[in-house]
């Protein structure tokens, strides 16, 4: 009975708010679709590329990618004409190997027009609330960060193997979180999420925006990454988190891992 009541209520609401017979102008609101793609210096990364040692980072280490899961949030549209800001406030956990959530439509409709479009890599401190998101608690065995590191959520889990300087295949786990120094009381925290600015985009009905991630950049610039030194146990390493933040973002005008791809209407 509940289902029927709900459907009738929804139907009534639709009738009440979308009357197309009375001549009132209806704002042309639209949702916006995003597609996330991934490459290594331009070479597209597909499922068959995982677990194959075939990439060479800027420091010269050969490596594979076994896992790439990351969180983006707060997709924001700032109108170029009115200055009004639209923020759905939701988030998306992209799992590249499993191919889940590669497409994302923020839960907001905006008037068609020109916008400055941006999103946050990870969660900023306002959203990074320990245990608050049941779907993230349930994802990937728990997307959480231990309380000894301030709690909250991972931003990214990038894992694989590399050939170390003794020619041995060695594991790496490049996990990004809010930087935390557990040696202090209380633990010292620094928000290392960052905003990704995609620039000005014309939003119309059916716009799809491709967001590209170049994984090579995580190891390249401005901090040349030596996997022999920094390969695992990076979560409790405050300084490593700062370095990862700088490589991922456009810190000091570095390239950053994200860029705008194709925009289709």
């Amino acid at each position: 009975m509940k289902k029927i009541a709900l459907l009738l209520a929804v139907a009534t609401a639709v009738v009440a708010c979308k009357n197309d017979d009375n001549g009132t102008p209806i704002p042309a609101d639209t949702s916006v679709d995003f597609t996330f793609s991934h490459n290594w210096d331009g070479d597209e990364i597909e499922n068959s590329d995982f677990d194959v040692i075939q990439y060479t980072n800027a420091n010269g280490e050969e490596l594979s990618i076994s896992k790439l899961v990351y969180l983006i949030s707060d997709v924001t549209f700032e109108s170029v004409t009115t200055g009004e800001v639209y923020d759905a406030g939701d988030y998306n956990l992209v799992n590249v190997r499993q191919g889940t959530n590669l497409n994302f439509t923020p839960d907001i409709e905006i008037p068609e027009g020109e916008y400055l479009v941006s999103f946050t890599f990870g969660f900023d401190d306002e959203d990074n609330i320990d245990g608050a998101y049941l779907d993230l608690n349930s994802a990937d065995g728990g997307w959480n960060v231990p309380m000894m590191l301030g709690g909250g959520y991972h931003y990214m889990r990038l894992e694989g193997k590399f050939i170390d300087n003794t020619s041995t295949e060695t594991n790496y786990a490049y996990h990004t979180i809010r930087a935390a120094d557990p040696s202090t009381t209380p633990v010292t925290l620094q928000d290392t999420s960052f905003e990704v600015d995609l620039g000005q985009i014309a939003i119309g009905s059916g716009t799809n925006i491709e967001v590209k991630m170049n994984l090579a950049q995580w190891f390249e610039d401005p901090n040349l990454w030596d996997l022999n030194v920094l390969n695992q146990m990076l979560m409790p390493n405050f300084d490593a988190q700062i370095l990862m933040h700088q490589n991922g973002s456009t810190y000091q005008n570095s390239e950053g891992v994200f860029s705008l791809g194709a925009v289709t209407q």
Binding site: M1, V14, G141, G142, N171, M233, L234
Partner: protein, 357 residues
Amino acid sequence: MKRCLIYFSLGFVLLSCSTDDGKVDGYTATPLELQIPQIFEDRILPPVIPADNPQTVEGVALGRKLFFDKRLSADNTLACAGCHSPANAFSDARQFSVGIDGIEGTRNSMPLFNLAWNYNELFFWDGRANSIENQALEPVVDPIEMHNTWSEAANSLQSDSEYPELFQQAFGTSTIDSVLVTKAIAQFLRTLISANSKFDRYLMGTAELSPEEQNGLNVFMDENRGDCFHCHGNPNNPLWTDNIFHNNGLDESFSDRGRGAVTGDPREFGQFKSPSLRNLEFTAPYMHDGRFETIEEVIDHYSEGLVYSETIDPLMKKVAEGGVGLSEQDKADLKAFLLTLSDPSFVNNPDFQDPNQ
């Protein structure tokens, strides 16, 4: 206006084929809401219950009876519970279970609890079954387990004085087949919920951890020490498993390819599903092949015993050194913490015991 029409149409379709009392195609069973523990309700997503097999009072009772009934096996000597004992958190204390012909299997029997929260819906150590219902199909006809045929099993139940009526009550038909048998068993299995350990009570604020247990939790959550949480959950995910497949560094080569044997993908050779750490106290021996008899042996494996192979999971640390090298104190405390995940009220729950006795 088109949208309105669609909503109204949907409403009428639902009205015509389903009502709020669970009546489907003219038959009514008694809906039974799964009792979701508060600790799950507050932290993780709801359980997965297939639309074509809702929980009902009659279905669960029937499934429980079937789970403990030896007539599912070819010679009436082995029930599901023969290898999934309540006292062992529905696992088997033997390394390998023995089928009706005296033949051992090759993997340790998996414990059964909180299965409805396996969001990936991949069951068995290798994930070859994509639902609890499909998982329940296999043991009956496995030649080294119950070694029966489904037609024989269904005939045995059909000729019984009680079962046809029980199926009638549960599903609206007295004609018994494998689909309905496994649906009933799956309903029962979904009721096997464990969420009342000391650590659960600690999370709910009604129990305290000892200093040793607290340090063990820290070892579990510390990426520099145990780093168990990346595969085995955390206080915000009290399932204590990711239900994902990993090669945890047991062997250099694989006599059992695990997940890779199912998918055919060499990248998945030697991968097996992370089991839940709940109720470890009752589920020895450990690992997919039951090679470790004690929790101490398991901890030693991750601390000193890791072995490299091509598909070893990247989360395995310091593999060249055999592992992270925990101190003896940290090992003891980690075990103390793991034992706080024991839920005696689950293994002793009268609702989960043999109803046929």
